[in-house]
Amino acid sequence: MRGEADPVTTVASLMPNATFFVEVALFAAVLGFITRFVVPPIHQAMRRRQEEIDTARSAASADSAEAREILAAARAEADGILDEARREGHRVRVVAREVADGLVAEASRRRAEMLAEVRSQEERLAGVAGAREEVVVR
């Protein structure tokens, strides 16, 4: 490259010359490319990722609300089942007590009947024994 142009007198880089215009054109070209072809796709990627984050965040919050609803429903159902079980238990206890009371009453009645029968038997036997003694004495 250097061979194509004539080397002119050496001038310190302190002196402004036509390099200024070459550099303006060169940097303007770089800037133009970056402005047109690099920054817009990066902006687009940033926007797309932000949208994905927003969507995921709203989906997560919707999922979380749904999970809360399901949890509340499950808790309500569990409370209902517990209440029902408590009521059923109470009912079974009451019925069992009634049955037991009935059985006890029945047993008491049967005992009293049997006692009465035993007593009447004893009395009859005592009557028979008295009559036998009377016959023997005669």
Binding site: M1, R2, E4, A5, D6, P7, V8, T9, T10, V11, A12, S13, L14, M15, P16, N17, A18, T19, F20, F21, V22, E23, V24, L26, F27, A28, A29, V30, L31, F33, I34, T35, F37, V38, V39, P41, I42, H43, Q44, A45, M46, R48, R49
Partner: protein, 242 residues
């Protein structure tokens, strides 16, 4: 070392115009690196798989946009690629010559490149100010807060590109000069350590200069986007912060 040799290099004569060959060659390399990084990030963005390069670009874009605030969507749109391109370009230009065996000098040590970059920045700032406020508002801001301060405001606008360019050029030129002096003035057995130390400092200085140039670009655009009433205060504040 003769004083006239400092910063001298091969030149091209094109139609009677003189162009510093090494500066242009090194600038082409720096521009190619920036374009390469841009193409790499673009490919990652299109593929939808975010890699390190894409994330670096996204971080840079977000940083500039958050600095520019609400104005970024309209008139300040151009400041984003400009600041990022400037940062990458100046960083590569400042660092490339530190690679051992690299044949080209730092192009930022040439006043022509520094002035060219500053001219582009100031052109963009003026364009942004006109778009943001309209011609009437743009011209009126020179007469704020008092009409007789117009010459000073105009001077400030002219001082911006000069200060931008001379800051970068001065730092990088002085860095090159130091390396030259270390090599020339010290005996060969003594020069490696100071050379290594100075090169390390040059790495930090090169990054700092790239950052300052890009940051000032963003701040100038931010001031150009601000409402006219608060513009002088913001401009002063920005100058202080920088």
């Amino acid at each position: 070392v003769e004083l006239s040799e400092i910063g001298a290099g091969p030149q091209w004569g094109i139609g009677g115009l003189v162009v510093n060959a090494a500066t242009v060659q090194a600038s082409v390399v720096a521009g190619a690196v920036v374009l390469g990084c841009g193409v790499w990030a673009r490919r990652q963005a299109r593929r939808g798989s975010p890699g390190g390069m894409l994330l670096a670009w996204e971080a840079a874009i977000s940083a500039v946009e958050s600095r520019l605030g609400s104005g970024v969507g309209t008139a300040g749109r151009r400041a984003v690629p400009l600041a990022i391109s400037l940062f990458g370009f100046i960083l590569v230009a400042n660092w490339a010559h530190l690679i051992p065996g690299w044949p080209l000098p730092a192009p930022t040590a040439d006043l022509n490149l520094a002035l060219a970059l500053a001219a582009i920045v100031v052109g963009s700032v003026q364009l942004t100010a006109v778009r943001s406020r309209g011609w009437r508002g743009y011209l009126a801001h020179y007469a704020r807060p008092y009409w007789w301060l117009a010459p000073l405001n105009l001077l400030e606008e002219l001082a911006r590109p000069l200060s931008l360019a001379l800051r970068l050029f001065g730092t990088m030129f002085a860095g090159g000069l130091m390396i030259l002096l270390i090599g020339e003035l010290l005996p060969a057995y003594l020069s490696p350590l100071p050379h290594a130390l100075w090169s390390t400092f040059e790495i930090a200085a090169g990054a700092m200069q790239a950052l300052i140039f890009a940051l000032l670009t963003v701040l100038y655009h931010e001031a150009a986007l601000a409402p006219p009433t608060t513009q002088p205060a913001i401009a002063i504040d920005n100058e202080r912060r920088s």
